[in-house]
């Protein structure tokens, strides 16, 4: 209940800053335009790349880029902000779980995108009989990505500034997540390794599922759950160790 309230508060604040929301959409649009324009030029000679013709490539890129609205890196800097503003101590004495409230915040922050995304989701996924599995993959991935970010956020205990990490994530995500190009146009052995990385699961794999060309959804769900657990335990361990240091400093 409390966590639902946290999520609702986040939705409200997101709606208050509609200008920001507009800017966010616009910047994503620029990024997508850039990627599409480049691939459009490549395809202009009428070639096909692996299984992709111009149309399927565009479909893939649009979907993966729309998906990327859901996977942003705010949770990664949450802890750093709490530490630097001195509010962590306040949070710690509250009867509330920091990891869960973070997840609630992130869910609230993304609620609008969920709603927007749901329409194409229903249209695309229904065509392919994977509807239920797709939804499960979607949800598991969301939690998995959050737990990865939460785990990384614990470096804030050892680092005075965490903001320089932000561009790294966008770089890694756009490359390993398959935002700039589908990972399966890479050489087969490279692809086979890359496809199981967490970024690929939320990006490439989900986009493929939605375009209806993925059969191992169950396997990917399992892997995603596995990642979630690992990141969660890593978070626990690092958070504990970090807290010791934090208390040691006596902030």
């Amino acid at each position: 209940m409390r966590y639902l309230y946290i999520a609702l508060t986040e939705i409200k604040s997101k709606l208050t800053y509609r200008f920001d929301l507009g800017v966010e959409f616009f910047s994503k649009l620029i990024e997508l335009t850039m990627t599409l324009a480049v691939w459009n030029a490549v395809f202009s000679s009428g070639i096909t790349i692996r299984d992709y013709d111009k149309k399927s490539m565009i479909a893939y890129l649009v979907i993966s880029s729309v998906l990327s609205f859901l996977y942003t890196f705010e949770p990664c800097f949450r802890l750093g902000k709490l530490i630097h503003s001195g509010r962590l101590s306040v949070q710690l004495i509250r009867p509330i779980n920091l990891w869960k409230s973070g997840l609630a915040e992130q869910t609230g922050r993304k609620a609008i995108y969920f709603i927007i995304l749901f329409i194409p989701f229903v249209i695309f996924a229904k065509l392919h009989n994977y509807f239920v599995l797709s939804i499960i993959l979607f949800i598991v991935n969301f939690v998995m990505f959050y737990s990865l970010m939460a785990f990384i956020s614990t470096v804030a205990f050892w680092l005075e500034n965490t903001w320089p990490l932000r561009p790294v994530f966008s770089a890694v995500y756009s490359l390993l997540g398959g935002i700039l190009f589908p990972l399966d146009i890479l050489p087969e052995p490279v692809y086979r390794i890359l496809v199981y990385n967490p970024f690929a699961l939320v990006g490439h794999v989900t986009a493929k599922t939605l375009t209806g060309s993925n059969e191992n959804i169950a396997l990917y769900i399992l892997i995603s759950v596995f990642y979630t657990l690992i990141f969660y335990f890593l978070y626990k361990i690092f958070f504990k160790a970090g807290l010791k240091k934090y208390e040691g400093v006596g902030l």
Binding site: V23, M34, A37, I47, P164, L180
Partner: protein
């Protein structure tokens, strides 16, 4: 003039001192900026493994474009980024009061307020990458290099101006964080061959926010002739927008002073 040089010197010294305080942040930022560079290069390799030409550019020209665009960003980053980041904070948090009574030019005081020293390493690496990429290029002679450097410096100023104007929005609007990132998106989009874009986007990136010209045309100097018209256009654009941005700055300060 002497005062300006002394002040610049002082800013440089203070930037260095601050760098030493936030060493680990600086190192991380440095490493990560190289990852960006790597992503761009990998993307180039992938695209060119399926096509020998992209919008009229061959692989070498494409790499020149990427490296030139990166070099311009690196130099901008060195001179202005930290200053711009601080400035938007100062405006929003109301920390500009003291500059209003100082006998200095506030526009330039803030423009050159902080340098990002680690970017020097990025500049060096990007320059080496450019040299390597053009090791077999026979078109390069002394005048090409001079011309190229002039264009790069003009481009840095163009990039500065766009960011400066966006930062000034903070005088009138409170929540500007997301907006501050906009020029970067436009710039990234401009570090692709302009020819891949449909006409109207090309027009915007050439004449309205001329990032497309500064990246594409500057890099083409190394392999082809530079379209003189564009150079003149950029010079004019820079002069006019400099004047406009100074006016906006002054209006912003006035607005700042009268708002309580």
């Amino acid at each position: 003039m002497k005062k300006c040089i002394k002040l610049l010197n002082m800013f440089f010294k203070q930037s260095t001192e601050e760098l030493l305080i936030y060493r680990s942040t600086a190192v991380i930022t440095l490493i990560f900026s190289f990852m960006f560079f790597a992503v761009e290069i990998i993307f180039g390799f992938i695209v060119y493994s399926y096509s020998s030409e992209l919008a009229g550019l061959n692989f070498n020209q494409y790499m020149n474009l990427i490296f030139t665009a990166t070099l311009i960003t690196n130099i901008y980053q060195f001179f202005f980024t930290v200053g711009h980041e601080n400035l938007s904070d100062y405006i929003v948090e109301g920390e500009l009061d003291y500059i209003l009574i100082r006998p200095v030019n506030s526009y330039f005081y803030y423009a050159f307020n902080r340098q990002d020293i680690p970017s020097l390493i990025n500049i060096l690496v990007t320059t080496l990458a450019l040299i390597y990429n053009n090791r077999l290029n026979t078109d390069i002679n002394f005048s090409v290099i001079v011309f190229y450097i002039i264009c790069i410096l003009l481009s840095v100023w163009t990039l500065f101006l766009v960011n400066q104007i966006v930062v000034c929005v903070a005088f009138w609007k409170e929540k500007v964080n997301k907006l501050l990132g906009m020029p970067e998106y436009f710039y990234d989009a401009s570090s692709r061959p302009l020819g891949v874009y449909p006409g109207f986007i090309r027009f915007i990136l050439s004449y309205i926010i001329p990032f497309g010209i500064i990246t594409n045309d500057s890099s083409l100097i190394l392999t082809e002739r530079f379209p003189l018209v564009h150079l003149i256009y950029i010079i004019l654009w820079n002069i006019i927008i400099t004047i406009i941005s100074v006016i906006i700055w002054k209006k912003g300060l006035k607005h700042y002073a009268s708002a309580n």
